[in-house]
Amino acid sequence: MSTGATGNQPILTQQEVARRRRGVRRTTLVVSLIVLAFYFGFIVMMLVRGSH
């Protein structure tokens, strides 16, 4: 059974796959850091506000 396009599909090179793999790691890291910043940021904001 066909698993996608039929005909002259472009095939990804090893370099392209490696580039994607790096991109996935980098984006995951950046987005996770944003999540943590928002989570702890609001708790710290409340602590700072409460200490005044």
Binding site: T3, G4, A5, P10, L12, V24, L36, F38, F42, G50
Partner: protein
Amino acid sequence: MAEPHTETHAHAEHDHDHKPHGWRRWVFATNHKDIGTMYLVFSCIMFFTGGAFAMMIRAELFKPGLQLVDAGVFNSLTTMHGLVMIFGAIMPAWVGLANWMIPIQIGAPDMALPRLNNLSFWILPFAFVLLLSSWLVPGSAPAGGWTMYPPLTLQFGSSFPMLIFAIHMMGISSILGAINVVVTIMNLRAPGMTLLRMPLFVWTWLITAYLLVAVMPVLAGAVTMMLTDHFFGTSFFNAGGGGDPVMFQHIFWFFGHPEVYIMILPGFGVVSEVIPAFSRKPLFGYEAMVYATASIAFLSFIVWAHHMFTVGLPLAALLFFMFSTMLIAVPTGVKVFNWTATMWRGSLTFEPPMLFSLAFLFLFTIGGFSGLMLALVPADFQYQDTYFVVAHFHYVLVSGSLFAIMSGVYYWLPKWVGRMYDIRLATWHFWLSAIFFNVLFFPQHFLGLAGMPRRIPDYAVQFADWNMVSSLGGFAFGLSQLLFPYIIWKCVRSGQRVEGTRAWDGARGLEWELPSPAPYHSWTTPPTEAMIARGAEH
């Protein structure tokens, strides 16, 4: 990371439809289609669970006086209905559609982080078993409303930690799902699939995922602080210890308002796919739609206090939040006019996906107009905590989110299972839903304007007639939803096979270049430039 074929194994495609069987296929699922299916099934179960709570609410409100449940149980019903529908039905349905459609719409072989995908799904059933089992503990289920305002929520008994833990788990699930969507779209698009060639459903989900990443941790932070207030003697929100309960409302709505857009933006995406398909015309103003979606997402961060106009905000804040809220009508208007312009002089047909999208267009706009009324500070002082608010957000979330989900499912179901569903029955499902939705919720505008408060099990006799009408509409709407799983079951078992790749002659996009049903492993070799260009004719 899900990897596409490289030169070294590109010719091994014949081996690719092998899939695990039995329970392992689902418990250890990493295939985006399997996980998407699980999300959608889970969402359907939660929809009927939350719907059962809604039926009990409407049964109690059928006539004045206490008939079926006491006031405490009624409060638990409204709370659990909100939590289950928002976190259990609508959001997982969108994640399910995202799982199914995003990889095949961008020409990727799977989601970028398949194991994380498995984890983010399997957290959900545990979260909801925990939440729903709170009915069984002393003091019964949470009863302070889905907004969980302290100090009321802090006074719960055993259900409090269950609620907080369940919310944390739902939040983690959503965040992991959102990370996966962002990473997939940013990194796994097929060569040639530039950002401005992506289908609108993918665009709206990308923006939704950023919203989720920004606001779900804020909710998690708020409930963590409430947890420490309850068990560790802190006073974040406890006025007796120098804390500020209104601050919880600020933080909650900083999450809560974008949450509304999290539930509606993917619906904009679905409607932007369906209307062009059944108008046989490209979408009018594709780029304007993308920018309007981004504008709505940005504005959603600066309007949160319109949910709390009556708590005693300074005048400057009231004015700022009133005007910023009204500003949202501009990009939303761009969308509504663009959908209408897409249909203009189109070759329209009215199959079930189009019917649900059209109902979305009309009824969501009504919800938008009542939202504008609520945005007016002096008027809001009258409407606050009345049934007008209940009518407003159900027009946004039922005829908005839910109808868009139905539209998406009816649009893509033939691609998923390779069979066409019973169009006549689905049309019945649409008309029953659309009619009884209005019978259910339109009278609630009148009740609210007449002063009936929300979240009460009993009411003054002058509200009796419209409540009875609303309840009758509710029972009929609820019953008509039973058609939905039946139509899907019948389609999967005995639907007529779809010939060729396109189930709808006006459908465009990479998903319609794949065979029907979509193969278990799709786009193991990326699509050609010609295919991408065909799908991206905006």
